[in-house]
């Protein structure tokens, strides 16, 4: 057996795993490539020639940027509300004892398990039944997004809380810290990374949601709905710029988070 073959045999699983990982990046590479594309004609998606125009002028289609801004607004607002409500609920579930906790756990789990089309259509059925079908728009989208983000926030914060060593809190109490001091100076800083992670997850879920939003949006357009709309008639290359920026931003956020984590770990040891 030659050396490369032996190496491949030993590392076969790793190589296959890396191939799968590489495959998940193929469409990202295409998105980035296309963001520099000047197509030969409006309906041709093949790579025409290289250009920076799309990056220089991302709002060439103002309706795309309107939709983008709307998605950011809805995402920020529903993340804020879902994170506050979800964090409170997670504290209740981990730190407090009450009747009906397993029923509550189930209620929190179900929105994550139900198919989006069912969630979306049941909300629309409610809005129609209560006479809100004429007011579909920003606020109905907001209500829907808080609903499905809430569960993810509860699960993420609950995991962080449950995995937390409560000796530190006990030590604070032993040293005569009041419950409020213990909470704000010990508990909250320890849980905060979990809350931040939950908020980021919630924002990206809200920002990216199409199925539920589309059913409850009326004539309001979010970014995914805009992309859906132009998919039939020809996608402006600026959509790829937005896609590439989203990828870059998330990578930066993850890297910053990782660096922060490392620093915190080093500071503690």
């Amino acid at each position: 057996m030659s050396a490369p073959v032996r190496w491949l045999r030993e590392h076969l699983v790793l190589v296959l795993g890396l191939l799968v990982l590489a495959y998940t990046f193929v469409p990202i590479a295409v998105v980035v490539l296309m963001s520099f594309n000047e197509p030969a004609s409006r309906n041709v998606y093949a790579f025409g020639s290289f250009t920076l125009d799309n990056w220089a002028n991302p709002c060439a289609d103002p309706s795309m940027c309107d939709a983008l801004v709307r998605s950011v607004e809805i995402g920020a607002l529903s993340t804020l509300v879902a994170t506050v409500l979800g964090t409170l609920a997670a504290f209740a579930l981990v730190r407090h004892d009450f009747a009906g906790r397993s029923a509550t756990n189930l209620l929190v789990f179900l929105p994550m398990a139900a198919p989006e089309i069912v969630l979306g259509s049941s909300l629309l059925a409610l809005f129609v039944a209560t006479g809100f079908s004429g007011q579909l728009g920003f606020w109905t989208i907001f209500v829907a997004h808080v609903m499905f983000c809430l569960s993810f926030v509860v699960v993420a914060v609950r995991a962080r809380l449950a995995g937390m060593d409560d000796h530190l809190e006990q030590a604070a109490m032993d040293l005569y810290a009041t419950p409020a001091q213990t909470f704000w100076r010990v508990t909250f800083p320890l849980v905060f990374p979990g809350i931040l992670g939950a908020a980021l997850l919630s924002f990206s879920l809200s920002f990216d949601d199409f199925i539920i939003t589309n059913l409850n949006a009326g004539t309001t357009t979010t970014f995914p709905m805009y992309v859906w709309g132009v998919a039939q008639r020809g996608v402006p290359m600026q959509v790829n710029v937005i896609g590439a920026v989203m990828f870059l931003v998330s990578v930066v956020v993850v890297v910053l988070g990782e660096v922060g984590n490392r620093r915190r770990v080093r500071a503690r040891t």
């Binding site: 209740a92 004892d97 209620l107 789990f109 808080v146 990216d208």
Partner: protein, 305 residues
């Protein structure tokens, strides 16, 4: 989701003087107060809508948004909807199932590589698993449209290898739809699989090889059974959203690959046939719940929550 959901018991005595309960949790009203706003939101916008959906599915099919609907307990809505749309319904479950299977194979390899072979690159690889999925779902799916296009490299390559005929294509075929679904839902499979594989003590696998088990035997007798909780939650987390999805079918398929989600969507927004849409939505939900219950019982993993 076994890892996050099972609340770790805090064995220490509670700091609060009132009730040192066994679990270390505090009793009293504060718990309810913290929970109330979130529960209220879920009750109003998740539980009540579900009731609305059931009611809507039984309304008089002759009603309209303009004239209003009457509750006539029209169970016939279900019969009518299924008679007309049983094909997209079955297709959804079939495509969802196929995509889940492919995700399981690809996801297991990736999760296994991360858990056992990545060494100090473990965290980086985990980050890379989710990184592509922070770019818009729709933008990524559209880019598959480009990759699988008739004059794209993949189709050209497959034609060169005579896997595809000269006029063969990938776009607008079931292959493209299932490939899109597999791609889009892969992280839902990888993360629970990883969580479960990472918990396995490598000494158990070593022990099996010390006892002269072939690596393959070691895998099937030790690693695979121990990773079953991850397999079960991963397949559920993939199957449920994949069979409810219609973005892939509409963007990468043709009208022949229509999935039931797309039918429900257009019945609601284009045809305004709310009773039929609600009935189909209910049927999809019930079918999924039944399949999940049967599957979970057969797989024997009860501690999913």
């Amino acid at each position: 989701m076994t890892s996050t959901a099972g609340v770790a018991p805090l064995a220490e005595t509670d700091v609060a003087p009132e009730t040192p309960a066994e679990t270390g949790r505090r009793r009293g009203r504060t718990g309810y107060l913290l929970l109330l706003p979130g529960l209220l939101w879920l009750a109003l916008f998740f539980v009540v809508p579900f009731y609305s959906l059931v009611a809507t599915s039984l309304y008089d099919p002759a009603g309209s948004d303009f004239r209003g609907y009457e509750m006539t307990w029209a169970f016939g809505n279900y019969v009518d909807a299924l008679q007309e749309y049983w094909r997209p319904m079955l297709r959804s479950l079939w495509y969802g199932g196929l995509a889940t299977l492919f995700c399981l194979v690809l996801g297991y390899v990736l999760a296994y590589a991360i858990a056992f072979k990545a060494g100090r690159w473990k965290n980086l690889m985990l980050v890379l698993v989710v990184a592509p999925f922070f770019t818009s779902f729709l933008v990524r799916t559209l880019s598959w449209k480009l990759i699988l296009a008739d004059d794209g490299w993949i189709v050209d390559g497959l034609q060169l290898l005579h896997v595809l005929g000269d006029d063969g294509r990938l776009l607008a075929t079931p292959v493209a739809v299932v490939a899109g679904l597999t791609y889009n839902f892969l992280p839902f499979m990888v993360l629970p699989l990883y969580a479960s594989l990472d918990k396995i003590d490598p000494r158990l696998v070593e022990a099996s090889s010390d006892l002269y088990a072939h690596p393959a035997v070691g895998f099937f007798k030790v690693t695979w059974p121990l990773s079953l909780p991850g397999v079960v939650s991963g397949t559920l987390l993939t199957f449920i959203p994949a069979s409810g999805d219609y973005i892939n079918a509409e963007l990468l398929g043709s009208p022949n690959q229509r999935m039931v989600g797309g039918v429900i969507q257009s019945l609601f927004t284009d045809a305004n046939d709310y009773p039929a849409a609600a009935a189909l939505s209910m049927v999809l939900m019930v079918l999924i719940v039944v399949m999940v219950l049967v599957y979970v019982r057969r797989a024997g993993t009860e501690e999913l929550l």
